[in-house]
């Protein structure tokens, strides 16, 4: 099998308190750099993960366990302190609904802007525009400024753009929560379809039933460490217990 995502024992430390002013840093330097300027903790601690092409993996864990942080490392938004991340093919992340949407622009403008942000060319967007519009079911609201959209409509359009970027690796972080039942179903089907088409999926969700349906493999994170990696049903069972 071909590895699509290769995470090799990465660690990431975050500071608990951010310093923001030169004054504080200056005082710290003048005092002879005693102590650490800021307390740190491990958000990811020696995390290793191999995902094969075409696999669907659920990242599970309680709040603050490091799931979003791990996805950000896979997408390249963050770089690890130590260890290495490598990916094969284009990565698209739905890290948060409508990141890159501008509230004052119309839905149409946002489709182009967000499409380009996610790496599509002008021709690709033109070509797929109808399909994006169809999938989102936004209809006549496409020329309305998105600040007037409901959160579900926002999600529909954002999700629709993201799946049309046709990436090899698809990262999904907790985004299906606001869609209505029929749209969630449609998204699920689409996600499954992507999986069947050999796309690699990494899904984060607290909706355990949902991920159990989409993914076959589960990875459990706890305080930045991988504590379990196996069949999704087993991982869900452990998380529930």
């Amino acid at each position: 099998m071909v590895v699509a995502v290769d995470v090799q024992s990465i660690s990431k430390q975050f500071v608990l308190r951010h310093t923001r002013s030169i004054k504080e840093a200056f005082v710290w330097i003048v005092k002879g750099r005693k102590g650490d300027l800021s307390q740190k903790f491990h958000a990811l601690d020696q995390v290793s993960l191999q995902v094969e092409q075409g696999e669907s993996v659920a990242l599970l864990g309680l709040n603050g366990s490091g799931k979003s942080t791990l996805l950000k490392h896979i997408s390249g938004v963050m770089l690890p302190d130590s260890g290495a991340v490598r990916t094969r093919g284009r990565v698209a992340g739905l890290i948060e609904v409508g990141a890159g949407f501008h509230p004052d622009l119309s839905g149409r403008d946002n489709v182009y802007l967000n499409g380009a942000i996610l790496g599509m060319t002008e021709d690709q967007i033109n070509e797929r525009f109808e399909s994006i519009l169809d999938f989102s079911e936004i209809g006549q609201f496409i020329d309305t400024e998105v600040k007037f959209y409901s959160s579900g409509m926002y999600l529909r359009l954002a999700f629709s753009v993201a799946i049309h970027t046709d990436p090899e690796i698809f990262l999904i972080d907790e985004i299906l929560a606001v869609g209505d039942e029929p749209f969630q179903k449609k998204c699920l089907e689409k996600i499954k379809e992507l999986g069947d088409a050999g796309k690699t999926l990494v899904v984060v969700s607290h909706d355990l039933d949902l991920v159990a349906r989409v993914c076959s493999r589960g990875v459990l994170l706890e305080h930045g460490k991988v504590v379990m990696d196996g069949d999704v049903a087993d991982v869900v069972a452990r998380l529930r217990s």
């Binding site: 002013s21 896979i74 963050m78 490598r86 622009l105 380009a116």
Partner: protein, 297 residues
């Protein structure tokens, strides 16, 4: 399936990536302009009205009331040709320095070449520069301006110097601003100094004479050379050479003293060289700092 290689995500190619994402850059610029003029009736026309009114005010207040025309022929044109360039620099650098923090929401969620944001800011300012330039050209034509290829080349060189400076410093301060929000205030101060530290309001001979009077010929010469090395000074003088000088007449303005000697053959290459160094240094700093943008924003 695809046979792409395993690559490390998040390691971009810097400004080269910006060239590769030209379409996205265009959209970001269009977005910025659209959002800026949203809900205003005159829209982009405002950027014609404002410099136009500014010029008329200068004409009266400085040229006629303060009598600056007595010292400098066609003083309003002299002033305006420098001011449009400094306006451009101020807006470009001011916005570029804020661009990374301003787009923080995007930067910490999606990976894309982050150099796009400072570059887009400078581009937006260049769009605003065009109307000012047109107002200047109208004033020049009224003043009897007929440029040759050398004048055009000088204007292009001046514009290039300022653009490269703004991109380079914008990258530097944009990145620094993520860590220390003080840096945007520092930039504001720098911009205030920039307006006065280049020969926009006064002429270079006043600087030379003033320095010689205050510090004697020897040290005055050194200080004047330092003053002259400022790439903004060089760019402003290039604009004077291109736009103002052709509107002056022989007995009132000595062509040898209108702009500093050796402006074209010595100072222009120096200015371009410094601007190039600044852009490289900005890029280098930016790349060293961008790895931690997502977590600091």
């Amino acid at each position: 399936m695809s046979s792409a290689e395993l690559t490390t995500p998040g390691l971009g190619g810097g400004l080269r990536d910006v060239l590769r994402s030209r379409y996205l850059l265009r959209l970001l610029v269009a977005k910025e302009l659209k959002v800026r003029y949203r809900g205003s009736v005159l829209g982009l026309l405002w950027s014609y009205v404002k410099p136009g009114v500014q010029f008329v005010v200068f004409w009266f207040a400085l040229g006629i009331f303060l009598g600056m025309n007595r010292n400098t022929e066609n003083y309003p044109i002299y002033l305006f040709s420098g001011i449009v360039l400094i306006n451009y620099f101020n807006e470009a650098l001011g916005n570029a320095a804020r661009s990374i923090v301003g787009n923080g929401g995007l930067i910490k969620k999606i990976y894309l070449p982050r150099e796009l944001f400072p570059v887009a800011s400078v581009w937006v300012s260049a769009v605003h520069f065009v109307p000012q330039l047109l107002v200047l050209l109208v004033a020049c034509f009224i003043g009897g301006w007929s440029p040759g290829p050398v004048q055009i080349a000088a204007a292009v060189a001046g514009f290039a110097i300022v653009t490269m400076l703004a991109v380079g410093l914008g990258l530097f301060f944009g990145a620094a601003n993520v860590y220390f929000r003080d840096s945007e205030n520092f930039v504001d101060m720098l911009l205030m100094i920039a307006t006065w530290a280049s020969p926009v309001l006064y002429s270079w001979t006043m600087v030379r004479d003033g320095l010689f009077d205050a510090f004697g010929t020897g040290r005055g010469e050194v200080l004047h050379t330092i003053y002259q090395t400022n790439p903004l000074t060089i760019a402003v003088e290039l604009f004077h050479f291109a736009f103002w000088m052709p509107t002056t007449t022989m007995p009132r303005t000595d062509p040898l003293l209108a702009v500093p000697p050796n402006l074209l053959d010595v100072w222009t290459p120096i200015g371009l060289g410094i601007a190039l160094v600044v852009i490289l240094a900005g890029q280098l700093t930016f790349r060293r700092l961008e790895g931690r943008f997502a977590q600091e924003l």
